[in-house]
Subunit: 202 residues, 4 copies
DNA sequence: CATGAATGAGCGTTCATTCAT
DNA sequence: TATGAATGAACGCTCATTCAT
C-alpha cells in the first residue's frame, strides 16, 4: 500500500472519528465505535494512530487547521480598515455557524486533556491559536490607525483580546442554544465597533 | 441528625468536590478522592448525592449561583448608563479573574454531560444563564436609549449577545493563558463601546 | 473488616492464585480465573494485590518462605556433621518432593519477570535464596572441618554451590519426569559425599 | 528458490529468533521483532514456521542439539574413568558458562509451553535429554566399577541423577548471579566425587 | 447514619495470524 | 515467494455503585 493510500485511509479514519466524537463526545466514544464508523477492524485504528487520545488530538488539529485556513484570506490588506474588519467579522460569523458541532469536539478535547500529558500540548495549541487570531484583528486596527483611517484613541491589542473572545463565546452560545441569532449579533457588533473606531463615518 | 447538620455536611462535600474537580477535572476525579478530601467514607457521598454526576451538577449549580449573586447588584438602576456599563464590565473582569479555575469545572461538566441525560439539563442551565446575562446587558442599553443617554442607532439585544460572549471567551483565554491582561482588555472594550454608545462624550 | 479478616482473605486469594498458577502457568492464568477460584469478584483481587504480577510475586515469596521455614531447623548444630548433612539432605529430598508443583510457579515467575521491573526483584530474591542455602551447607562443612570430623581437603564453598545446585536441578528433573527416584538419588548422593568428606568412616 | 536457499533462510530466521528470545524473553518477543531482526517481512516468518511457538520450539531444539553435540566427544571411552569424569565435568563447566543466556530461553520455553499442546512435547524433550545426560554419567561410573577402577559401593544411576541435576542447577545459579565461581565449584565437586569414587587415590 | 469491602461492567490496547497483492 | 495491512480475540485494570454491618 503506497503513501497515498495510507493518507486516504488516515483521512477516512479521521472523518469517522470526528463524526463519532461530535455525536457522542470523547469520553463516551469507544475506539470500537470509530472503527465501526470507518468500517474497519478495531486494530486498524491503531495502525494509524497511537492511541485514542492521539486520534483525538489529530481531529482537533484538523479543526484548527480548517479554521486557520479559512482565515488565511483575511490576512490580505486589500480595502479600507473598515472593510477589512467587516470582512473578518463576517467570516467569523460564517465560521462560527459552520463549526458549531466541532466546537463540541474542541471543548471535549480540552476536558479530556485535563491532567494529561496532552494538557500542555492542548494549551500551547490554543494559546498560539488565540495569539494568531488576536494578531489578525490587532493588525487591522493598527493599520487603520497608522493610515489615519481609525481613531487612535483605542487600544488595538486590548480590543483584539475582546473581539477574539467575543467570537469564541459566540460559538459557545450558539452551540448550546441554536436560537441565537448570529447574523444579528455580529452585525450589531460590527456596526457599534466601527462607529467607535472609524473617524469618518459619513 | 437534623436538617441543619445535613445541610452543613452537604456543603462540606460540595466544597471538597469542587476542590478536587478543579484540581483534577471531572473525568480523572474518583468518588473516593472526593470522600478523602471531605474526610468521610466513600459511601457517605452517596447519602447526599445520587451519583458522581449529580454531585458534579450540584457543583456546577453552585458556581453559577456564585456568579449570578455577584451580578445581582448590577441589576440596580443607580447611576448613568455609562456608569452602569462600566460597573458591570468591571465586575465582569473581576469575576473572570476570580473564577478562572472554576471555568475548568464548567467546561468539564459540559464534556461529562455529552450524550447523557444531563446534557439537556446542562444545556438548559447554560441557556438560561446566558439569557440572564444578556438581559442584564441589554436592559442597561435599553434604559440608556430610552433616557436618551445612549445612541439609539445600536441594537441592544445583538450587542448583548456579543458582550456576554466576549466575557465568556475572555475567561477561556485567561484560563489557557494566564498572561492575558484582563484589565487592559476590559478597559479597552469598555472605552470603545462607550465611545460608540454614549451620545455626549464630553 | 478488621486486620485479621483482611489477612484471612488475602491468604484465601493467595491459595487460589497458587492453585491456578500451578495448574495453568502464569501466562495462561487470567485474573478472572483466580477470582473465580477464590469465589470472589474480579475487582476484589485488586483490593488485595496491586496487579497480577504483584500477586504472582506474593505467591512466589510464600513458596520461598515455606521452603526457608522448613529448612530453619537445619540451622541447629545438634549432632555430628555427618548427621547434620544427612538430615539436611533428607529434608531436601522431602521438600523437593512436596514442592514439585510449586517448582512450576517459580520457573513461571522467572519467565514472567523477564524484561520487567520485577526481573531485578526476582533475581535479588533468588540470589539471596541461593546464598542462604549455600551458607547452610557450607556452615556444616566448615563446622565439621573445624572440629576435625570432616576431611579438610575439600572446598566447603565450592561444594555448597554444587550441592544446592543439585537439589535445585533435582526438583526440575522431578517436575518434568515423575519417574525420577528422588529417594535413591539423594541416598546415593549422601553416601558418596559422606564417603569423601568423613574422615572416620568405620 | 531451492531447498538450500530455504534452509539458509530458515537458519537466518532461527538465528534472529534466538537473539531476540535471549534478549527479551518469549512472552515479550513479538513476531514482528523477529522479522525485523531477520530483516524480512512479518509474513515471511510464517512461511517457515507454523507459529510463534513452533519457532520457539525450533530454537529450543537447536540449543539442545548444540549442547548434545558438545557432549558427543565425551561418549568416547578413552582414558581412565577418573579422566573421563574430569573431562566431562570440565566440559560441563564450559557449556554452563557458554550457554548462560540460552538458559533463559529454555526456561522461557518451558513457561510458554505450560498448558499448551507443546507442554508434552517439551516435557518429552527434556525427559529424554535428562536421560541422555544421566546415561553419559552413569556409563562412566559403571565402566569404572566394572574395570575395578571405581569403588563399587556407589550407586551409578542414583549419582547420575544428582550430577546431572547439579550441572543443571549450576546453570540456573549462574544465570541469576554472575558472581558464582563456576570453575571453583566444579573443581571442588570433581575432587570430592573422585575422592569418594576412586579406589586408588594415591 | 456512616462505612468501606465487594463487585463487575466496561474499555483501551496488544499482537499472533491471515491473505490479497 | 514475500509482504505488511488488516483483523479481532483476549485480557488487565479502573472505578462508580451497592449493601451488610
Amino acid at each position: 500500500m503506497n503513501t497515498l493510500d495510507r493518507e486516504t485511509k488516515r483521512t477516512t479514519l479521521l472523518d469517522a472519528a470526528m463524526a463519532v466524537f461530535v455525536r457522542k463526545g470523547f469520553a463516551r466514544t469507544r475506539v470500537a465505535d470509530i472503527a465501526t464508523e470507518a468500517d474497519v477492524g478495531k486494530g486498524t485504528v491503531y495502525e494509524y494512530f497511537a492511541s485514542k487520545e492521539a486520534l483525538f488530538f489529530a481531529v482537533f488539529e484538523r479543526i484548527q487547521e480548517d479554521i486557520a485556513s479559512e482565515l488565511k484570506p483575511e490576512l490580505s490588506e486589500i480595502g479600507t480598515s473598515r472593510e477589512r474588519l467587516q470582512r473578518l467579522f463576517s467570516k467569523g460569523a460564517e465560521i462560527t455557524r459552520r463549526q458549531v458541532e466541532n466546537q463540541a469536539v474542541v471543548l471535549d478535547f480540552w476536558a479530556a486533556s485535563r491532567g494529561n500529558l496532552l494538557e500542555e500540548q492542548f494549551r500551547d495549541f490554543c494559546v498560539s491559536g488565540f495569539a494568531f487570531y488576536r494578531s489578525l484583528v490587532a493588525q487591522i486596527l493598527i493599520d487603520g490607525q497608522t493610515s489615519g483611517e481609525l481613531n487612535p484613541n483605542h487600544d488595538p491589542e486590548g480590543l483584539a483580546v475582546m473581539i477574539v473572545a467575543a467570537f469564541d463565546g459566540l460559538g459557545a452560545q450558539l452551540y448550546l442554544d441554536r436560537s441565537v441569532d448570529v447574523e444579528r449579533a455580529v452585525a450589531a457588533f460590527t456596526n457599534t465597533l466601527c462607529d467607535a473606531l472609524c473617524l469618518e463615518d459619513e
